[in-house]
């Protein structure tokens, strides 16, 4: 059930994100979408491993796996957002057109 809900959230969230970037005419590059997708994949892996290690009664391992997978996921997500923001800052007319 958790994965169904997460799938719905990701699907709806992805749809909103694409619509929003197009409405704002942000011109997101393909590699920025790829970075975002990798970030989502790592976040999902982090969530699965964290919750499953807790089920296994291994809270220390849960924390380690959350850090091992979650931190790179956050970095990739931040990098994707930064790249879009940085390009928009260089050509502000594009984002407001």
């Amino acid at each position: 059930m958790m994965w169904l809900i997460l799938g719905l959230i990701i699907g709806a969230g992805g749809w909103w994100l694409v619509s929003w970037t197009r409405a704002r005419k942000l011109g997101v590059r393909w590699y920025e979408w790829l970075l975002g997708a990798l970030a989502v994949a790592l976040a999902l892996l982090a969530i699965q491993n964290y919750t499953a290690f807790l089920r296994e009664m291994e809270p220390y391992a849960a924390s380690v796996m959350l850090a091992l997978l979650g931190v790179p996921g956050l970095i990739l997500a931040a990098l994707a957002v930064f790249l879009v923001w940085w390009r928009g800052r260089k050509s502000p007319t594009k984002s407001t057109a």
Binding site: W3, L4, L6, G7, L8, I10, G11, G14, W15, V18, G27, V28, R29, W30, W33, L44, L45, Q48, N49, A52, F53, R55, E56, M57, E58, Y60, A61, V64, M65, L68
Partner: protein, 466 residues
């Protein structure tokens, strides 16, 4: 290049993404979405990454191998190997340590641990080599005995044994020049195990006779509680071993009744670890691979299981050995040897034909252990330790994706074994205070858990859930 998706394309992609996310876990944990190996025994559902093989991953020299006498292990000959003086000293130490830790309320050695330890040994069925005499046989019912193909028999026995409490089940056909050598020459009580051309089995003061027509061995596992095992090396840890033996004594008796009810022989272990070499039969039956522990390592529970066997004249389709990359992983890992407080396990990178002492049986290329060191530590802590089982990266509960990923990757290639072991070191660093008798995990935390599964075992592992 900017992304330019139409709404239709976007919806299609999102649909595919959702389907992928939903199906991905099923493809990893099950064997229904894709099956790596469709030659697995039809009677047993195994993890998808387990591959069958014509030979075990451990090399065997059948010509060199001879039938072994069980009493030559340190279970039966420890005093002979270490001398009476040292044995007496260890006995004194064991008594003193257990008494002191009981009075100190040392976690894992308290009164409640001792009480539960004794309790788990109670209530089992009678254990014997010969089939029960009061079984309701087809002859008594006036009907012919059960007949069917060896494949049908294998499936039927597997279904029955799962219901009786076995974890995984496999079958070995006895061959005079090979697998028959895994039947002990002498049992733990030094009775000679004869294989003779007779119609019925028998037992007297000196011998047990297996009829030559009984050519099949049923080998099975009963998993132990991983969470209880994590309290190694305490009394609390030991009782999961004790409980498994107790459960098996009942299972063995019930299996003997079942086979007799079908019209066939079921020749059991006369006592604990009797009849034949359990890890060897488990390996030949494909229940697992041999490991650095010189014990059986299973895909389902790692080494945290016990292995049992029974000889029968019911023809059964043999199951194949497996290769899940675990023996290869052991070559790199060495974590059990590191954690072994007595340094009894091999640190060699490659297995060897050279045994460490008469407690080992020559004829297989293995990681032989110094069993006297192991047994001496048992005596000091007053239990059967289990720290090596606990340290094993494969002895996990396998809910987390990482475990499935590790298992699949280790099975596919040994290239990443070192990296996988390094990750395991991060997530499973071991006991904070590894002094004599101190446990891997806090036994008092175990006593606060009231939500552990029945017998501490995840019985749905690798199998369908009802």
């Amino acid at each position: 290049m900017s992304m330019n998706l139409t709404r239709r394309e976007l919806l299609k992609d999102l649909g595919l993404l959702g389907a992928g996310i939903t199906l991905a876990p099923a493809s990893i944990v099950g064997n229904t979405v894709f099956d790596w190996d469709n030659e697995q025994t039809p009677a047993l559902s195994r993890p998808s990454w387990v591959r069958t093989a014509d030979k075990p991953t451990m090399e065997i020299d059948w010509e060199k191998m001879q039938r072994y006498s069980e009493w030559r292990t340190t279970r039966g000959s420890f005093v002979e190997y270490v001398g009476k003086e040292r044995d007496d000293r260890l006995t004194k130490l064991q008594t003193e340590n257990l008494d002191r830790w009981l009075k100190q309320n040392k976690p894992g050695y308290t009164l409640k641990d001792r009480a539960l330890g004794v309790a788990t040994g109670q209530g089992s069925g009678a254990q014997g080599f010969l089939p029960p005499k009061d079984a309701t046989t087809p002859e008594k019912l006036g009907v012919p005995k059960w007949t069917g193909s060896p494949e049908d028999a294998a499936r039927m026995v597997t279904a029955a044994m799962r219901h009786l409490g076995a974890g995984t089940i496999g079958f070995v056909q006895l061959d005079t020049n090979t697998t028959e050598k895994l039947i002990y020459a002498q049992d733990p009580d030094k009775k000679e195990m004869k294989i003779a051309d007779v119609d019925l089995p028998s037992e007297d003061d000196k011998t047990r006779v297996i009829p030559k027509k009984a050519r099949w061995v049923i080998a099975w596992t009963i998993p132990m509680s991983q969470e209880t095992m994590k309290t190694a090396p305490t009394v609390l840890c030991q009782l999961t071993t004790g409980l498994t033996y107790t459960l098996n004594r009942s299972l063995q008796l019930r299996l003997q009744y079942f086979l007799a009810g079908l019209g066939y022989l079921g020749l059991g272990e006369a006592s604990t670890n009797a009849l034949g070499i359990s890890p060897a039969f488990g390996t030949m039956a494909g229940l697992g691979e041999m490991s650095r522990l010189n014990r059986l390592m299973t895909p389902e529970w790692g080494p945290i299981t016990r292995v049992f066997k029974m000889v029968t004249d019911l023809p059964l389709a043999p199951t194949k050995p497996i290769n899940a990359g675990m023996f290869e992983f052991c070559k790199v890992c060495k974590k059990c040897a590191d954690f072994c407080p007595s340094k009894a396990l091999s640190f060699d990178t490659e297995p060897t034909w050279q045994v460490r002492g008469p407690w080992n049986n020559p004829g297989h290329k293995a990681f032989f252990e110094d069993s006297t060191k192991c047994r001496a530590y048992w005596r000091q802590v007053g239990t059967n330790c289990g720290l090596c089982f606990t340290a094993c990266p494969f002895g996990t509960k396998n809910h987390a994706f990482f475990h499935e990923f590790r298992n699949a990757l280790a099975s596919a290639t040994p290239v990443f074994d070192g990296a996988l072991k390094a990750v395991d070191d991060w997530i499973n660093p071991g006991p904070a205070n590894p002094e004599l008798g101190n446990p891997f995990k806090d036994p008092e935390a175990w006593w606060r858990r009231t939500d552990l599964p029945i017998f501490g075992i995840n019985t749905s592992s690798g199998l369908s859930e009802i």
